[in-house]
């Protein structure tokens, strides 16, 4: 928790705290109202776009949307695409981070700043050229190519995080292995990776969440309904029924969001809240 300023003038402090709480509660309410809609409407058979308590709470909306073609298959697509992207990114990032973290080279600095620079470029800016490129290389509508693109777009950030995490693994442990004749890759696999397991899971979850929530990339690059992930199928549903089936739209949104909320909770609680951001922001 945050460190509080020492209390010098107690009465004023109590008043300040009261005001702070009041303002915070108002802001909290403003943030809660839109969220309340998605939760309440999902359980309401007569939902509208307004927040209201369901008169007769029902699970019918969930029953309606949890069909193979509406949610289950798109969710499976999301799962496969996101898992694929996260696995590729983590493996590639760990491999690349090793020389960057362990060997001094005058190329490291420029390479890392180049990667950082790339991570800042607006990804939506390149969707039109990516589409052209995919058409040209006959990669359009190929799920594996979308996985690779998702992996590449998360890679700069993942590489930075992995490199910073790897820097905090002492090199002396590997030196012992090297003396015993292990190769660098053996040392990476046997010593560094096991020690970095929590950090690697943070990077994995981070890439997975980004891919899971990504709408624009599959929207542009995948047109076959067989492979469209939930982000795209929910958009199609919204276009067709969204202005009628408010409750089902909310239920669908909730089903699609729950894995994200769960994973986020897992990372912040299970792996230490500040830790998740630490490798990234503070290093």
């Amino acid at each position: 928790m945050s460190v509080r300023a020492p209390s010098v003038a107690a009465p004023t402090r109590a008043a300040t705290r009261l005001w702070a709480n009041l303002v915070l509660l108002v802001i909290g309410l403003v943030f809660a109202l839109p969220l309340a809609w998605v939760v309440l409407a999902a359980f309401d058979s007569a939902a509208s776009y307004q927040v209201k308590i369901p008169t007769a709470p029902t699970l019918q909306n969930f029953a309606d949307v949890l069909t193979p073609q509406l949610t289950l298959r798109p969710l499976l697509s999301s799962l496969l695409l996101s898992t694929g992207a996260a696995v590729v990114t983590v493996v590639v990032a760990v491999l690349a981070a090793y020389p960057l973290s362990r060997y001094r080279s005058r190329f490291n600095g420029p390479f890392l700043y180049g990667v950082l620079f790339a991570s800042c470029l607006p990804i939506t800016a390149i969707m039109v050229p990516v589409y052209s490129l995919f058409v040209q290389l006959r990669l359009i509508n190929q799920p594996w190519a979308v996985v690779l693109f998702l992996a590449a777009s998360s890679l700069p950030m993942a590489l930075w995080m992995t490199k910073n995490f790897m820097d905090s693994v002492p090199v002396s442990l590997e030196e012992a292995a090297w003396v015993d004749g292990a190769s660098a890759m053996t040392a990476l696999r046997r010593i560094v990776v096991p020690l970095m397991r929590p950090a690697i899971s943070v990077v994995f979850v981070f890439v997975f969440l980004q891919a899971w929530g990504n709408f624009f990339v599959p929207f542009v690059l995948l047109y076959s309904p067989d492979w469209q992930p939930a982000a795209v199928s929910i958009y199609a549903f919204f276009g067709q029924y969204g202005t009628v089936a408010y409750g089902r739209l909310a239920a669908y949104s909730l089903v699609y969001s729950l894995p994200v909320l769960g994973l986020y909770l897992l990372v912040t609680r299970g792996l230490g809240g500040s830790f998740a951001l630490a490798g990234a922001v503070k290093g």
Binding site: S2, G28, V38, Q50, R102, F117, T124, A125, W160, G213
Partner: protein, 309 residues
Amino acid sequence: MTTIGPAQDTRVTRRSGISRGTTPARALPLVPAGGLLLVFLAGPIVWALYGSLTDRALSGARAADPQFIGLDNFARLFADPVLPLSIGITVAFVVGSAIIGQNVLGLVLAVLFRVGSRAVTGIVGVLVVTAWVLPEIVAAFIGYAFLSADGTLNAMLAGVGIAGPNWLYAFPLVAIIIANTWRGTAFSMMIYRAALDDVPLEVIESSMIDGAGAWQRLRLITLPMIRPTIFTNLMLTTLQTLSVFTLIWVMTKGGPGNLSSTLPVLAYTEAFQFGDIGYGNAIAVVMLVLGAVFSIGYVLSLRAGGSRT
């Protein structure tokens, strides 16, 4: 948890005395990463530059056999009144939702969190972060529901006797700014919260002994001390906001007219709705230049700030 920065970038790694093979072999693990980045990030950027010089279309003859037309796309783009409009909307969107909305609200929340009671702080923190963790498209639906003609906001306004407009049509820019502020504030809030926790307590104590009030402490002590964080965060939120597409596309489709078409939406519309890939590429180039300027500013600020990001 989208964007982030380095920290101890040039930490000196002690090397063992053992000769560990030649340098090319050591660089081998970099190959997959380099390959992915070259093909899927550098490739499209080069492709954007090349594509913007052609009249490639989405379908038809010009799709199969695009012609090189030099700078015609750019000449047309810079003569098109839609470009200044779109740049203006993009700037307003970034200033309104990222620089003012997310940063100011995030900072206010972080400051209030230090004073407020634990329970209130916890609840409000979870609510703000939830809006940020949700998939962008769900946030967009929620924004759509909240601001549409028969949405929650108008229901509340009706409660006090005001007939609210359909915000998405009457004030599309305001609608997307509100939605993006709602969605993105958590990031700034967490960054500022961490920065405020790092301000040494002694400095604050001694200023209190000198009789500084809360407002003076904030303005004269705390804000100057976290200035590097403020700068970095402004850069990051600006870059994130520049690339927002889904939120706007779902809420307004860039309309009515082009009144909420930021550059990403404009590029998508021109390329995929009107089928003019070459023209869309030209807009992408403009966007890349804009993004590059901010990215350079961000990278330079990190280098200048050293490990104090």
